[in-house]
Amino acid sequence: MSDKTLSDRLIGFLNTFQLAVAGLVVIVPTLWMVLSSFKQSYEVTAYPPTILFTPTLSNYAALSQTTPFLHYGLNSIIVTVGSTLIGLILGTPAAFAVSWTRVTWPAVIALVARMAPGTLFLLPWYVMFRHFDMIGSYWSLILTHAVITMPIVIWVLLPFFDGIPRSVFEAAQVDGCSPVRLFRRIALPLVSTGLAVSSILAFVFSWNYFLFALVLSNSDTKTLIAASFNFIGEGSTNWGGLMAAATLIALPPLILAVIVQRWLISGLTLGAVKG
């Protein structure tokens, strides 16, 4: 009997050991990025690399002086918040209607939008926005990013609407409640968790999206992600600054993702996997 517990303990130890190694592989590169952002410029390119050093905030301080970092950050917030709001306004009532009628076209469209390469849409959008003289405008970025956010909102919210018992709808209907009223007064408050999760995921994916802003923004409306390209150009001589920029750009999505981690996997797999 004690023999078995010993081998059990050994297996348990080996398991924990492998998990610890895997955890290190996952976290060490990110940790290295964060550490480098706190190094003096001569130390960040030191070879052999140093692990112990006197941390400095100079890279962060320099970012706002040498680059329009705050301006790009504001652009990112405008585009991300704008596209998340539009995604919610368009997607929430649609998700409710899909849940009610079981008509699946929005789900199918969302899938197509998810599968097609971004450049496929970018080519005609470029022609369209050029025609309306909208290239470089916030609206061109917000509208194109809403193509990312609306499908996320629909897919994340659907199971939440489906989770409302049918009897709630039926009872309200007997009382003469119309679908629009039912949506606003009864269904919306019941899916408040879903609304929070879908807005956060929409925000993260809009924030992280690279391709559209790469082409459709100009020096005034450039988002942080699109500006990363400039940071790399300047970063060839200044790794500390580059890593400070990378750390700051990654921070909002990482914090938000941790908040919604319980719903993350089912949301990211379009409901194919229950997290």
Partner: protein, 290 residues
Amino acid sequence: MKETSDNTRRQLAALSAPALIFTVGMIAFPFFYTIWLSLEAFSATGASHFAGIVNYRHMVDDGEFWHGLAITFTLYLLSLALQLVAGTYLALLLFRSKRLPGIIRSLFISPFMMPPVVAGMMWLVILDPSLGAANYILTSLGLPPSDWLASPTWVIPTVALIDTWQWAPYVALIVLGGLQSLPPSVYEAAEIDGASPFKRLYRITLPLLMPTIMTATILRSVDLLRFFDIIYITTQGGPANASDTLNIYGFRVGFEFFQFGYASALMVTLSVIVLGAVLVLNRMRAAVEW
């Protein structure tokens, strides 16, 4: 009574109308417009005229297209194999450690929720051929250093490794979900029969997990076949054209050379490839369903 249901239907239609209008304007119309553009020829002055399948014929004769296709599939198969194996392995580890601290879960989420562009910037510094930490570790272990992203031979395996670092944890969490939904009675029965742990894994657990693994495969395939962000931020398809995937090539034809007709033909082709892969993989998933 009929009147009410008509009214109900109208209101439900009104609720989905904004999404429908947006979808037509921003997704459906551009989609068909790209197909139309792919049938147009553009002259140097910017004027265009209908040209039929000229762009597609040009594509078949274009060595860069075939090169891009080969790069796309090499990167796809290499990355997919790496992250399926690593992800399933991680999932089994996570499943067997009975209590999973929240911090570990957050840790595992961090690579794939950070912007791919940031992952690219980060690895660019770590993998720098002369001053990067990766080569320092290699040389201190007595191994030869690598040029990583700067090497035409190693750039694709390196990108595959970066993507595996980013997405294997995602595969792991999907497979973990599948493991947790397996009925415990299966294990108990196998244990009573005295099946060895390896036999249990290969004969019982993995076959039962196949549908979940296929789901992860489909989700990753869609992203991997369209690979863009990390390559564009680190190499832009280089060195030379060693990492010029179809998506990168199509983007460059469109927005560096401004050949919109030809770029559209490339993107329509890539979309057909992605769609075809999803249909085939979906059928394979149906075959392993239990």
